[in-house]
Each structure stands twice: as C-alpha cells, then as structure tokens.
Subunit: 140 residues, 2 copies
DNA sequence: TTCCAGTTTTAGACATATTCTAAAATCAAA
DNA sequence: TTTGATTTTAGAATATGTCTAAAACTGGAA
C-alpha cells in the first residue's frame, strides 16, 4: 500500500473526498510540527506538485480544520499557522526566531480555572514566550 | 487641572511629546478594557476628533507600546488588539461574541514552567476560551 | 514676535494575508 | 459516455497594517 493510498484512506475516513492536491497538502501539513503558515504550506507542496494554487491550499487547510484534522492558531504577527497536533497542548514562542514549539499538556500545571466568576471556560492553553536554550555542546 | 492637562503630563512623564491627537487617542485607549483594534480606536477617537488619520492612530499605538503604556496582542482572527492593562494577567475569549476579558494573574494557578527542557521561559499567559455566563436574574 | 529645525500628522500608495468569484477541470455514478 | 456535482484555479476583492513624502505644527533661538 503506497503512501498516497494510505493518506487517501485517512482523508476518506474523515469525510474528505481525496484528490491529488488534498493528498499532497495532507502529506506535508498533517505530518509536520513546524506550525507552517498557509504560504509555507504552498511553497512546500509546490516542490512536489508545482501546479497547486494558493486558493486550494487555503481551501484545503480550512477543510482539514472543519473536519478536525488540524487547528489554526493566531499566535504571532498577524499570520495564521497550522497545527496538526490535535491533542491538548501548550505553546512556546521563541522571541528571537518566531519559532513555535508544542509543549505537552502535562508539562505544565494549570489549576483553579473553574472558579472564574461569570466565565464558563471550555478550553485553555498556556502561551509561553522566551528563548530556546542553546544545546550544551555534546560530548561524543 | 483639566483632563487634557493631566493626560499631557502623563504622556510627558513617559517620554512622549503630547499632541492633540496623542492625547485624544490616549484618553480612549489607555482607559478602556475593551481590547480595541486599531480601527476601533480610530472610530472612537474620531467621534471627538474627526480629523485624526488612520496612520496617526497606528503610529501612536505603536509609540505607546514602545513606551510601555500598552501591549498589543494577536489573540483572534488576524487582528491586533490594544491592552492598556500592563500588569501580568490572563485572557478569556468569548467564542460567541469574540469579546476578550482580562483574567487576574492570581485567579489561575500555573506551575512547573521552569522544568521545560530546552526552553527558557520569560513570560506566559493562559488563553481561555468559552462563553460568558448569563447573569442570574437579579433579585432587587 | 518671527524664524527655523525638528517633530508630528496626513493622504494615499504599498505590502501582506486571506477570502471570494466565476469559470474551467475533474470526478463519480448512472 | 454523459451528466451533474465537486474541486481547482487565476485573479479580483477585502482587510489589516506599514511606508512615503509632503504639509502642518511646535518649541525654542534670535
């Protein structure tokens, strides 16, 4: 079973009619943790599929979001980014590079959210800002 | 001492040369908790000061931010909003109305942020989504 | 006061991100 | 096949925000 067939089946299982463009877009956007913008998705998909249009990328990203395959976040600089990690998690933004990093749900303790007078909280996320630590020089 | 004089002095104290436009913008944007967008600031300021230009509003909001009088957040729908609450706090977004509500820093417990491998966290904020609770009918 | 240099404001051009539109291409089912 | 619905497309339209260059204004020096 080819990669293409597997992805086609996956899209169908989520109520999405597969097409060559949708599979090409899914192949990238559903398997990256780089939080790409729509234009980054377009650029990446065009490497293998040069004829895909910008409108199709926007349409497909929205379709994937409506079907629950990804989320769209507005965290930085007026640009929407795709996040194929649909499990609950937090986000860290590197203020030097703009890079967005997923932070596991259990890595942070959040408490007392139910006691907010007048607000009924359905979901939440911690947005952290800072800098990625330089890796200590490896010793191999 | 007029309101205008008081605001002029406040701006000067923060290294900002006062002007009629800057005072008019400050009067609104530094005293609201409505998290207005730039265009909402423009509309509001024009009610009293019809000649103010869009460019001046954008310039002034940026100036106020650089001088630490407000922050700019991108929380929803690709629009930047002004937040004159410069103390640490969290945000609640009403998913029905888009309304943004400040949540006091101490109303939420957040812990264990320092233990994130490879990430040096300088600041953080909890972003909550849900619905404002309907006020129970008052009994007066 | 009047002048001047620096600052502020302005309209409109530009840039960027996203959505819309209407026509062409493609597809699935009969 | 044909057909009718779906998908894709280029480009127009919209929205938010920045830039530019000229005009207006300001505070101090003369």
């Amino acid at each position: 079973m080819t990669d293409h067939e597997r992805l086609s089946g996956f899209l169908q299982d989520h109520g999405i009619q597969p097409s060559a463009q949708r599979v090409a877009i899914a192949r990238f956007v559903l398997h990256t943790d780089r939080h790409p913008t729509a234009d980054e998705v377009l650029a990446e998909v065009r490497r293998d599929f040069p004829m895909v249009s910008r409108a199709t990328v926007y349409n497909t990203i929205r379709l994937f979001m409506e079907k629950g395959l990804l989320r769209i976040h507005q965290l930085e600089g007026g640009v929407a980014v795709c996040d194929a990690n649909t499990a609950r998690h937090h986000h860290f933004i590197d203020e030097d590079t703009g890079e967005i990093v997923d932070v596991p749900w259990d890595a942070v303790d959040v408490g007392r959210l139910d006691e907010l007078a007048g607000l009924s909280v359905d979901s939440w996320m911690v947005v952290m800002r800072g800098r990625r630590r330089r890796e200590p020089p490896s010793r191999d």
